[in-house]
């Protein structure tokens, strides 16, 4: 799984597609596959009870499970619902682009995704270890010690290279104009707050990448392992 790429990829697409996409569904699409499942992968405590998937990787990416949320077909289906059900082709296309980016990015780990569900074959590049089953903190430590964290860094660098996308000028001329959502929200929320919210995922992805890297390597001294499929000090899941 990826930790910051899903926050940053929408800005890269935005740079190239300008008025052809709407940013909000692009970002929602990018978050969508994990939106309902991540909490159950890591588990939560509700009083004396712990709610957690017995097989987190299977639940998150497999079938039976919710792995279909990471397939291109599921993204397309939700896109069709948005288009035909809510009448917005722009939102539909933007959602699908964001969703597909997430599904394709997650093929980078050792579990991969069932891109062509209902075909249950997992496409996986094995570049970094899937360690969601170890819990949130070990997963973070492993991710930011291997090629997954390095892949996120590529998106951060590309985001800064695309710096114009996060300027107020770009927000006013492209983001705000491309999608009626922004003028609608602007009736209640001031423009300055909207601009800040637009930049928030970029800020969140970048800051979190730095913070987790410090947490894993300065505070806790987890060893880096940038070899293919690493870090090998964590037990990686496979399909």
């Amino acid at each position: 799984m990826s930790w910051a790429a899903h926050d940053l990829e929408p800005y890269a697409f935005q740079k190239h597609l300008n008025l052809k996409v709407a940013f909000v569904p692009l970002l929602i699409g990018s978050y969508a596959p994990d939106l309902m499942t991540k909490w159950f992968v890591y588990g939560i405590h509700l009083g004396p009870w712990e709610l957690k998937a017995s097989n987190p990787a299977q639940f998150h990416r497999g079938w039976p499970g919710f792995g279909f949320t990471h397939s291109l077909t599921f993204g397309l289906l939700i896109g069709l619902v948005i288009w035909k059900g809510f009448g917005s082709k722009l939102w539909a296309v933007s959602f699908v682009i964001g969703h597909w980016a997430h599904a394709l990015t997650d093929t980078g780990d050792t579990v991969g995704t069932m891109l062509l569900f209902p075909w249950t074959f997992h496409f996986h590049l094995d570049a970094w270890a899937y360690a969601g089953q170890t819990g949130r903190f070990t997963d973070a430590a492993a991710y930011f010690s291997g090629l997954g964290g390095a892949w996120d860094a590529v998106w951060i660098v590309y985001g800064f290279y695309s710096w114009r996308v996060i300027t107020s000028e770009y927000f006013d001329n492209i983001i705000y104009r491309a999608d009626a959502f922004w003028p609608w929200v602007n009736r209640w929320v001031p423009r300055g707050a909207l601009l800040t919210l637009y930049r928030a995922a970029f800020f969140y992805g970048t800051s979190r990448w730095i913070a987790w890297t410090i947490w894993a390597h300065v505070v806790h001294h987890y060893p880096y392992d940038l070899s293919w499929g690493g870090p090998h000090w964590v037990p990686a899941e496979h399909p």
Binding site: R199, S207, R208
Partner: protein, 70 residues
């Protein structure tokens, strides 16, 4: 002498840098809080709420207070 290349490089303005510096300051505080209390880093909603407060609400409040004092 070929100086034309420089004019094509997209360079941020002073105002862009000022905004960027503000966000860097907000990020530095966020990172310090996150490293100390790691739960703070886990929620995108918390991250977004923090940014709205740190990068919009606080500067706006300070600007308004300054105007009143003048």
């Amino acid at each position: 002498m070929r100086l034309r290349l420089l004019s094509r490089i997209d360079v941020p303005t002073r105002s862009d840098w000022r905004v960027f510096a503000g966000y860097c300051a907000a990020a530095a505080v966020y990172i310090v809080i996150g490293v100390v209390y790691d739960d703070f880093l886990l929620s995108v909603v918390v991250g977004m709420a923090y940014l709205v407060v740190a990068a919009w609400l606080v500067p706006r409040t300070i600007r308004r207070m300054r105007r009143r004092l003048q």
